[in-house]
């Protein structure tokens, strides 16, 4: 095996240690190292956004940084935004407004929406569309996703 190093992260509120190769991307550390397979891989050029997570509260495509670069960071994945009792208001809005079909891009969409709503609690349609431009969806045509985010904003205010 190539040299492996340990990287310490706070993932969904829990301190975690994960063994990685120096070249391992954060997304693979999350998926293969920690079993958090809700973070998906849809491309290899950082276009699709399916792997978006929050790193220290900001939406980051987790294929764009090495796991080692995230050392000490707080990482939030789709698994970490709601407990068993109920969905997060953003997730619930996606249910209500049919913001997902196949669901593969959805975790990334949700985390990008969370990032947007943390900065702008009342985004208009144009703002939402621009905020989501790094997350590709092939099923919905985006309109219900935009509606979901608007509804989530209202629910969170």
């Amino acid at each position: 095996m190539p040299d492996r190093e340990r990287v310490g992260l706070v993932v969904n509120g829990e301190p975690r240690l994960v063994e990685v190769e120096p070249r391992t991307l954060l997304v693979h550390a999350l998926r293969d190292g920690l079993g958090l397979t809700g973070t998906h891989v849809g491309c290899d050029t950082s276009q699709c956004g399916a792997c978006t997570v929050l790193v220290d509260g900001k939406a980051v495509k987790s294929c764009t940084l090495l796991a080692l670069q995230a050392e000490g960071s707080e990482v939030t994945t789709i698994e970490g935004i709601a407990d068993e009792a109920g969905l997060h208001p953003v997730q619930q809005a996606f249910v209500e407004h049919h913001g997902l079909q196949c669901g593969f891009c959805t975790p990334g969409m949700i985390l990008t929406a969370l990032d947007l709503l943390s900065r702008d609690p009342d985004p208009d349609e144009r703002t939402i569309r621009h905020a989501l431009r790094g997350n590709l969806c092939r099923c919905t045509g985006y309109q219900p996703i935009v509606e979901s985010v608007r509804a989530a904003a209202e629910a969170l205010r």
């Binding site: 693979h28 997902l100 092939r138």
Partner: protein, 777 residues
């Protein structure tokens, strides 16, 4: 309570929203090994040698094989199920190329290692000596004299010629007042399901095979795997877990599935392969890539008298599952929703050194609808007639309507859709704004484009499929099973990948059985659970699978009725069934609910003589006809005449998809379809250079639109009932079929006062700008 027709929320959502989807790449078995595929960088090359020594010696590598190493594993080549003529050429196609690589991305070797990264590292160490051969990527060049041959042994690049023609077509064209001929090139489209393909193969101790696959077609996979591997279907289980979109590109039986099974068997370990996106661009089928020449003939009053279409259709380097048949899915749609008495369609299939083409959303029907609707506008210009009026004059008025091409459209009201469209659009206001901008010479000009369309879906009547040489049938199956204590299990032969079948199908069954929608569980996508089925594509799941489900439900009710009649000692005819309860006519206090009948069926203490215990029925449904959705769409675009930049300002879609079981899901299907058709009109193009190198190999160069490029759509519906028990027509492809011509017609309309009559696909700023410069110079 009635749930059919209501937008209940999807039961599929919660797991997906929590990141608990069962996508293949999320599944790993103990001891899983990882496969990487080495692909030809050359569009055409002789494989002189494959040296695997360095790869085999690399860290973590379990095995590495060339195509020649694996040649004995195949019981047969990867089959094509639709050889459209007796003499369609179907050169052998194996999971790994042996002597010659025929497109960029053709697999030439395979490596298995302890991790995905190590497999990729080792794949880099495989040394393949190639002798590059001349290649051809363009359909017209491929048919020219002296063109390089994709398959030398065939002596030609022509795969087939298929023709459908009514008598007297030439005479009709000769006799016409007006004849319009146009050529169109529809480029390659790359489907881009956001989940790439993937497989995980496990071979058990008795040689039984389980394949988890990101596929639309678990039943077809199982069938084809027997042909390729020689393993009896009965020993093969294919599971399509959560599948992240398909759009036609996950119908095919690709080489990686059988390859992973062979390696799992050889190595005694589960083998997993996950496609990378850049690999997907090369190794997963493309759509379109067709050149058309179309002639319309009409009277000077605008009555269309004949349509003749000739098309040259790229097959790519090999025939995938239904490659040659894709154009045929559009073969009856070149007259669309119009009454046109003379008809001629010819398709020439052409091999090129490119990734194989196959079904991409709409499959054949967008191609036909595009040339039809673009030529409608060209004819309107020629006649000096408003494009809406020309359409009105020719729309079919009475149903059922048998077309000149021979098929019968069961239902529709095309005028109603068009009327509603114009109402939502407020065409007069759009035209007034357009006129004002033209008047003041605005840099940003406005255009409005139309597409009135219909489509042939609900694939498909088996007899017709047989007549057009498809290898198997088009029916589907469903099982409805009462559990002893009254919950309902439904097993369907269709296999969803985002369409929400679990929700929609539960609505149908719950309503009919009079049970709660949450009491109905829908199972699918696993050949061990769903033994019979023809899977999901061609807007067939509801229009075919849904009817099978209806029939199975009716059979359950019939059996329950016999049980209740027996136990209440009345005749079956004396029983009414509503809201889940059988009541004796005239004495409504004498009743038994269907759940009690289910328990009685299970206990079997008191059943009619000879009746088998249990309350479970299976039905198969073979449609007598295709289903025929239709409608009217309009696009409004703003074109910057200085830069060519085109923005879609509004999109109005009025569709008749028959009865909507879940209107929320129906709207979602329309939206997604529109986005893909609009993308084809404005953004997406898979580009090969003249030597056959794919230039668009990432999402950075192939422009899948984001939320920022698209507007909110204005959708509405008119409804005529299809000729089936649910009145449903299918909705998966309407948006894609109708939208591309509406958008391009709008772009041309925006520039028509300058003299622009055509803009090639996709209407990128550069192409639009060039079109403007051409007429200005």
């Amino acid at each position: 309570m009635t749930v059919v027709g209501t937008p209940i929320k999807r039961r599929e959502d919660e797991a997906l929203l929590r990141g608990r989807g069962s996508f293949v790449d999320n599944l790993t078995l103990p001891g899983t090994a990882y496969m990487a595929v080495v692909r030809s960088p050359y569009p055409a090359a002789r494989i002189v040698s494959v040296n695997l020594d360095a790869a085999r010696a690399a860290e973590g590598v379990i095995a590495a094989f060339s195509g020649a190493d694996l040649a004995d594993e195949w019981a047969g080549p990867l089959p094509c199920a639709w050889l459209v003529t007796e003499d369609t050429k179907n050169p052998p196609h194996y999971p790994v190329a042996i002597d010659v690589a025929r497109y960029q991305g053709d697999p030439v070797a395979v490596v298995v290692a302890e991790s995905r990264a190590l497999a990729k590292d080792a794949a880099e160490l495989v040394e393949v000596e190639y002798e590059p051969l001349p290649a051809v990527a363009d359909v017209e060049q491929a048919l020219s004299d002296g063109a390089p041959l994709v398959h030398e042994e065939l002596g030609t690049n022509e795969c087939y010629v298929w023709k459908l023609e009514t008598d007297g077509i030439q005479a009709a064209i000769d006799a016409a007042d007006v004849v319009v001929t146009r050529r169109y090139r529809q480029p390659r489209l790359i489907p881009n399901a956001i989940e790439p393909r993937g497989v995980l193969a496990q071979v058990g101790p008795t040689g039984d095979v389980t394949l988890w696959s990101a596929t639309q077609t678990p039943h077809i996979q199982r069938f084809v795997l027997q042909l390729v591997l020689g393993i009896p279907e009965a020993k093969i289980r294919v599971i399509a877990p959560d599948v992240g979109g398909g759009f036609g590109s996950k119908i095919q039986v690709y080489g990686e599935g059988p390859l992973a099974i062979v390696l799992a068997r050889r190595l005694g370990r589960p083998v997993k392969w996950t496609e990378e996106r850049s690999e997907n661009y090369l190794g997963t089928i493309h759509g379109r890539d067709v050149v058309h020449e179309v002639t319309f003939a009409a009277t000077k009053e605008g009555k269309i008298t004949a349509v003749r279409s000739e098309a040259w259709c790229a097959m790519g380097a090999y025939l995938e599952l239904v490659t040659p048949g894709i154009p045929l899915l559009g073969a009856w749609l070149y007259s669309g929703p119009y009454e046109i008495p003379n008809y001629s369609v010819t398709f020439t299939g052409v091999f090129t050194n490119t990734t194989p083409t196959d079904a991409y959303r709409g499959a054949g029907r967008p191609e036909a609808t595009y040339v039809l609707e673009r030529t409608m506008d060209a004819l309107a210009r020629e006649l000096g007639m408003d494009p809406v009026e020309l359409r009105r004059k020719n729309l079919i008025r009475e149903f059922p309507h048998t077309m000149a091409s021979g098929l019968t459209i069961d239902s529709g009201d095309y005028h109603a859709s068009l009327d509603r469209l114009l109402e939502v659009l407020d065409l007069d206001a759009v035209r007034a704004e357009q006129a004002a901008r033209r008047e003041r010479g605005d840099v940003k000009q406005l255009g409005v484009g139309f597409s009135t369309y219909n489509e042939m879906c609900g694939l498909a009547p088996s007899r017709i499929l047989g007549a057009i040489r498809y290898a198997v049938g088009g029916w589907d199956s469903a099982t409805v099973r009462f559990q002893p204590l009254g919950s309902v299990q439904v097993v369907v032969g269709t296999s969803p990948h985002g369409q929400g079948h679990e929700t929609t199908f539960a609505q149908i069954v719950a309503d009919r059985l009079g049970v709660g929608v949450d009491e109905v569980e829908v199972l699918h996508g696993d050949t061990a659970i769903s033994q019979l089925g023809m899977d999901t594509y061609g807007s067939r799941s509801l229009a075919v699978g849904g009817i099978a489900l209806w029939q199975a439900t009716e059979k359950v009710i019939a059996k329950a009725r016999a049980i209740v009649a027996h136990q209440l000692e009345v005749s079956e005819d004396d029983l009414e069934f509503a809201d889940g309860t059988f009541r004796v006519k005239g004495s409504p206090d004498r009743s038994m609910d269907i759940k009690a009948a289910a328990f009685a069926a299970h206990a079997a203490h008191n059943l009619p003589d000879g009746m088998e215990p249990g309350l479970e029925e299976t039905a198969t449904y073979d449609p007598a006809n295709f289903s025929w959705p239709g409608g009217a769409h309009a696009a409004v675009v703003e074109v910057d005449t200085e830069t060519g930049d085109t923005r879609l300002v509004r999109y109005v879609a009025v569709d008749d998809v028959g009865r909507a079981i879940n209107p929320m899901i129906v709207d979602g299907q329309v939206h997604g379809g529109l986005a893909q058709g609009i993308a084809a009109a404005l953004y997406e193009e898979g580009v090969y250079d003249a030597e056959g190198n794919l230039l668009t190999t990432t999402m950075a160069t192939y422009l899948v639109p984001s939320a920022a490029e698209l507007p909110s759509f204005e959708t509405d519906r008119t409804e005529t009932a299809a000729d089936n028990p649910l009145g449903v027509k299918g909705v998966g492809e309407t948006g894609t079929i109708a939208s591309a011509p509406a958008v391009v017609n709008a772009v041309v309309d925006a520039l028509s006062h300058l003299g622009v009559t055509d803009v090639p696909l996709p209407a990128t700023p550069e192409r639009v700008w060039n079109a403007i410069q051409e007429v200005r110079s």
